[in-house]
Symmetry: C2
Subunit: 208 residues, 2 copies
């Protein structure tokens, strides 16, 4: 890349920001000029936080969620239900589900979805480790909590075929349906159809 700025230091910092997703060179320059006006300690702390983030956070040996220890706090928590494994696409999905405070099982982070268009096959994801985790026993239910997209459905189907031969495990998926607080007129047809097919006894809706 051609050097745009007089200062190599400025150039390097702008290039660093500009490699981040969704940040172009104009925004990168704006951020760099902002940092130049901040106290030196604040910038050093920020830089230190980034270095430590990358060097000290790893991935849980069990579920592949990010973790500062070899086994993450969720997997090492004896009060969680280790017989229920929720399969999610990425680390962010774990945070989203944890925020609901309603799930007491453990997770398995795939690290993506099968997507032939993007050249991502089963071997690029944490699928083998999920299969052997289930095969090792102790898991009674695998909940597929993947995106309701073509890639999510493809991945879900692939996992179902891999996991269903393991006799003791039941594979379930998240319910699709009308959003809580939303009216029928704001629900797309496909979701509405699925929510009709998947209708539940009225009493069960009261207990939520």
């Amino acid at each position: 890349m051609e050097q745009e700025f007089e200062s190599r230091l400025l150039e390097n910092a702008v290039n660093g920001f500009a490699t981040l997703p969704g940040i172009g060179r104009k925004t990168a320059l704006r951020l760099v000029l902002y940092l130049l006006k901040r106290p030196e300690k604040e910038v050093a702390d920020f830089a230190g936080a980034l270095t430590r983030l990358r060097s000290e956070i790893g991935y849980c040996r069990e579920c592949h969620n990010i973790s500062e220890s070899e086994v993450c706090p969720i997997c090492s928590n004896p009060r969680r239900d280790h017989s229920t494994v929720m399969v999610v696409e990425n680390v962010k999905d774990v945070m989203i589900v944890e925020r609901t405070g309603r799930y007491r099982g453990v997770y398995h982070v795939l690290g993506g979805l099968i997507s032939p268009m993007d050249g991502i096959g089963p071997q690029d994801l944490e699928i083998e480790s999920l299969v052997s985790r289930v095969r090792d026993g102790g898991v009674s239910e695998v909940i597929l909590a993947l995106s309701a997209t073509m890639e999510g459905d493809t991945t879900g189907f692939y996992l179902y075929r891999k996991l269903s031969p393991v006799a003791e495990v039941s594979v379930t998926v998240l319910a699709r349906g009308v959003s809580v607080g939303s009216g029928l007129e704001y629900t797309d047809d496909l979701t509405l159809s699925r929510s009709i097919e998947g209708r539940t006894p009225f009493e069960s809706s009261l207990s939520k």
Copy 2:
């Protein structure tokens, strides 16, 4: 602030990004998760670039533009016209004017505009240093290249009153007018009025 994430390291990095202008906590988390997947060296280089940026870049003693040396490359360049000083709001404006490649004079960076609403008065800006720079002699023209906003006009008027008593200096402003390549229908009324008042001989438009 309440801790949102399990990991303190993650929390710190997200907080760091979220203090940057225009970056909310959702975007900050996205950037942090992206960095977690990058090679450790790349993240360390980025962090290093930020630290060095802040610790090694200073401001030019003459024009207050950012500079790695005590006097910036523009001010120390004998081939620039040191009798013409363009007054700009900030460092970015210097870059923008330099990019045109048409200006051979030097700069004076105010570091902002007078804005009573934001509590920014003349004493918060590099105005005294501009006045003494002009008073020291050798400057024949001061070009006010400030935003066409109320703050820009207020600041320009203040500077004009400060500088005009210095007999040898002429104070000029950038021409306001129709953008090159733009039609009259896309020009607001005020700009159009100004461009009519400031009309120039046809021959002079040919030489540009």
